[in-house]
């Protein structure tokens, strides 16, 4: 697939996920939306700052009691074609150089869409806190 079609594919998948999440949490659970949205805003910068493995391990170990954050990570794994977030993490950690670089770039492309839809669909701004 060309870069553009991968990115279009991501856009479509992510949009559907976020829309569904929005529907499931419409109106009532503000906390859930914020959790999901703040992860969408925070993770891409964390990936840039710490590298993909550190960033994914970080969000995996901080998710205690945060179901929506967990849901976000499972969504991301699904978009990246992994069976679960745990699988994605394993894959990224053990990937040789070329695969690791590709996974990083693809994750960043996907995250770009989460960030956009968190803002436009869920209405969560970058400065809003999920905690």
């Amino acid at each position: 697939m060309t870069i553009q079609t991968i990115q279009q594919q991501y856009a479509k998948t992510v949009y559907e996920q976020v829309l569904e999440f929005d529907k499931a949490h419409s109106g009532k659970e503000d906390k859930a939306r914020k959790e999901y949205g703040s992860m969408a805003h925070k993770l891409p910068v964390l990936v840039r700052q710490a590298g993909l493995v550190q960033a994914l391990v970080f969000v995996a170990t901080r998710g205690k009691g945060k179901d929506s954050q967990k849901e976000f990570l499972e969504h991301l794994a699904q978009t990246m074609g992994a069976g679960s977030f745990g699988d994605l993490l394993d894959q990224v950690r053990t990937a040789p150089l070329v695969e690791y670089m590709l996974l990083t770039r693809q994750t960043l492309w996907a995250l770009e869409w989460y960030k956009r839809f968190a803002q436009s669909v869920l209405g969560i701004d970058p400065t809003e806190e999920g905690d």
């Binding site: 964390l46 700052q49 710490a50 493995v53 970080f58 950690r93």
Partner: protein, 342 residues
């Protein structure tokens, strides 16, 4: 439970301080494992490792070139000495949950120009008496607004070579945060700071090279503001716990000898700084009279005369007085001219 958090290919790499590693890279990407919330076990040694690195030898060449460059553009430079410790960029996005701003290429701590500018602007707005400074023209000239950039450039203040003990500017530090609301209102208070465990972080010491560029009188004004803001409010995070205080080595302070002399200087300075530009014409003469009868040492008297002249210059009043050849104004000029040469 711990999870390995490096790429497997990097699992066995250990830090070798002899080969000049980039401490920022080590901090960001080489934490061995991460723990569930509340487990801080692996972080402290990781910070300790980064703090054990010395300033990179390549930074030596860069810092010297940097000083020359600043001279080349005509920037005014002053040393700011940390009186305690600095916590710059503490709330930055990081898997360590606390962060510190390090130079991207050289790995040394520094104070971003944007942070200095922000501090000075906020200080001017909230702490200076004069409405010119709070929201008026002077404020706009110095700091700009959304339509127009300011007239003074605040460069990043880089770590001054050799200024920290053994040239190790990074220090291991620990905070115990009982009240998470401490950080409320900041952009991203980490989620689990309400845990009672001590939280490790890195702070910085040493001196930093403040560099401003612009019209002389505006640079001077910005330095005066920065001087007060760095001493009174401090820069970076944890300022309410005493972090971030710095002494700015302005020549005025350096030469003021004895507490009595500097008190007088400060009294005049405060008085003039809080004087609105529109009030200068009406009030400056009484300042001059007070100066005239002041019985202090020559050095102090000279400094105050200079401060008065600076205010006249800054307010645009000096030109007019010069043209009119006002005797008291000429006296001030002559005084400074005569004694500052000695």
């Amino acid at each position: 439970m711990t999870t390995k958090s490096r790429r497997r290919a990097l699992d066995n790499i250990s830090l070798d301080v002899r080969v000049a590693p980039h401490p920022g890279l080590w901090l960001d990407k080489f934490l061995k494992e991460q723990q569930e919330q509340g487990g801080e076990g692996t972080k402290a040694p990781h910070f300790q490792e980064a703090a054990s690195t010395q300033v990179s030898p390549v930074y030596r060449d860069f810092f010297n070139a940097w000083k020359q460059t600043l001279q080349g553009v005509g920037a005014v430079t002053k040393e700011a000495k940390t009186t305690g410790r600095l916590a710059i960029g503490l709330g930055g996005e990081s898997v360590l949950e606390t962060s510190i701003t390090l130079h991207r290429t050289y790995g040394v701590p520094y104070i971003p120009g944007s942070a200095l500018k922000g501090l000075a602007a906020r200080y001017a707005r909230t702490r200076l008496e004069d409405s010119e400074w709070r929201e008026g023209k002077a404020y706009k000239i110095l700091f700009g607004d959304t339509d127009e950039a300011g007239y003074v450039t605040f460069f990043d203040a880089l770590y001054i070579l050799g200024s920290a003990a053994n040239d190790h500017p990074l220090m291991m530090d620990v905070m115990t945060v009982h009240h998470p609301e401490y950080y409320q209102g900041k952009s991203k208070p980490p989620a689990d700071w309400d845990s009672p465990t001590p939280i490790p972080f890195l702070s910085a010491t040493g001196s930093y090279l403040i560099a401003l560029y612009g019209d002389d009188k505006w640079v001077e004004a910005a330095l005066q503001i920065l001087d007060r803001a760095l001493r009174e409010e401090g820069i970076g995070a944890k300022t309410s716990s005493g972090y971030g205080r710095m002494d700015l080595d302005l020549d005025l302070h350096a030469t003021a000898d004895g507490p009595e002399g500097s008190t007088e200087v400060n009294r005049f300075r405060t008085r003039l700084e809080s004087m609105a530009v529109k009030d200068v014409a009406g009030q400056i003469h009484s300042v001059y009279q007070d100066w005239k009868v002041l019985e202090v040492d020559l050095e102090t008297k000279l400094q105050i005369a200079q401060i008065i002249l600076d205010k006249l210059e800054l307010s645009g009043r000096a030109k007019k007085l010069k043209r009119k050849k006002k005797p008291w104004f000429s006296e001030l000029l002559a005084f400074v001219d005569t004694y500052s040469r000695e």
